[in-house]
């Protein structure tokens, strides 16, 4: 190999290395290597079978239905479970015309609950009274399941539920409102 050929080889190798590093940094190329971890996700979560009472308001009166539920011992998971079951009941009872699902549930260390649904619970044509009692039914059912919360935030896709007539920017109390029929 002549000296010129050696220099050319060296420059070409340096240029290729620089290009490789540049594209690696800008993630234009990825290196996938086998990954070994000691973390094993829990396959089984502790749960208890309970008869839960679900409340709903229909035709100017409160009704209740007792359903057997496998409630997780984790409070946030239990909150999600009971809320989802209540939403199914609300759809069956034709209190809601659409299928709404709780995506995330969270409970803070201060006792505030957060329920994030995939869509708004209400229809635009519903009266304020109907909307209010829908929420009250859900809150009563959560309280009856033994989940003690100071207040519940209602969210849609992790943002406060937007409604013209009811204020969801603040937590809703789990204490009963002074409702007169």
């Amino acid at each position: 190999m002549t000296l010129a050929q050696r220099w050319l080889t060296l420059i070409a190798a340096l240029a290729m290395s620089a290009g490789f590093v540049y594209f690696l940094v800008h993630t234009n190329i990825l290196i996938i290597a086998p990954y070994h971890s000691s973390y094993t996700p829990a396959l089984v979560t502790a749960a208890t079978k309970k008869n839960s009472t679900l409340f709903f308001y229909k035709q100017d009166a409160w009704h209740q239905e007792v359903v057997p539920l496998l409630l997780p011992d984790q409070q946030a998971d239990a909150l999600s479970c009971i809320a989802n079951r209540w939403l199914v009941l609300a759809t069956e009872e034709e209190l809601m015309n659409k299928k709404v699902r709780v995506e995330h549930a969270f409970i803070t260390q201060y006792g505030s609950g957060y329920l994030s649904c995939d869509q708004c619970l209400f229809e635009s044509a519903q009266s304020t009274r109907e909307k209010f009692f829908l929420i009250q039914g859900l809150i009563r059912s959560i309280k009856a399941a033994g989940i003690s919360l100071k207040g519940i935030y209602f969210l849609v896709q992790n943002k406060p539920m937007a409604d013209y007539h009811l204020d969801f920017s603040v937590p809703w109390s789990c204490e009963p409102y002074n409702v007169n029929n």
């Binding site: 635009s124 044509a125 409604d163 409102y177």
Partner: protein, 223 residues
């Protein structure tokens, strides 16, 4: 003859004084919806914002004819856009009584509901503070909650007498009502069901007649 004249004058003065405010009194009527928020679709093709504006204008006209010293102001004009907080700010400057009006499509029997603002059912009313104190938005209603409840109750009682069994009327309920949030003066919200747009004049008559009892409550409190 002069005695009869004096007697007549006394009767007229008495009747006038029951509909007369000693100091100017301002009521703010807030029809649901605005330029950006059309509201519900009612009676086929009508929008809530248009019908509530008609209703509010009709009630304003009726009340101003009935009472001396009463000023009725609308929270917005047609074509104007205002959020709840902007309306509350406006009301906190000039209103002595705030009434929010909304409508929804009637499905069964005609219904009228009445609400006052309540965030925390166990919260106790607090004493009014001086105007220079900053009060959180979630507590500004607390000093006037008893007056709001009393106004709403007076409205409900009179409404029940007027409509008897032709309409369903529910007792006033304290709820986290968004249109009433941040309002410092006594405030309540009315929500009526409507089937046809030509029901508006009937609603104007019913609501303005029932509101006279709420207004009489404030006249008595002024004296």
């Amino acid at each position: 003859m002069p005695l009869i004249f004096l007697l007549l004058l006394l009767i007229v003065q008495t009747s006038l004084s029951s509909n007369t405010f000693k100091q100017p009194f301002t009521i703010m009527l807030d029809g649901a919806g605005d330029a950006h928020h059309a509201g519900r679709t009612l009676a086929g093709d009508y929008l809530e914002r248009g019908l509530t504006m008609q209703l509010a204008q009709g009630i304003k006209h009726k009340l101003e004819q009935t009472y001396d010293g009463l000023r009725v102001v609308l929270a917005r004009t047609p074509g104007e856009s205002a959020t709840h907080i902007q309306r509350a700010t406006f009301a906190n400057r000039i209103a002595d009584l705030y009434i929010s009006i909304s409508l929804y499509p009637q499905t069964t029997k005609p219904t009228i509901d009445c609400y006052y603002f309540c965030l925390e059912p166990r919260a106790l009313p607090i004493a009014p503070t001086n105007n220079l104190q900053l009060t959180p938005l979630t507590q500004v209603h607390l000093p006037t909650t008893p007056a709001s409840q009393a106004s709403a109750q007076a409205f409900y009682t009179e409404l029940k007498n007027i409509v008897t069994n032709t309409m369903i009327v529910h007792m006033p309920t304290g709820i986290p009502c968004a249109p009433l949030k941040g309002i410092a003066c006594p405030a309540f919200a009315l929500e009526a069901s409507i089937k046809h747009a030509h029901d508006i004049p009937m609603l104007v008559n019913i609501l303005s007649s029932a509101l006279t009892k709420s207004i009489d409550y404030h006249i008595r409190n002024q004296s």
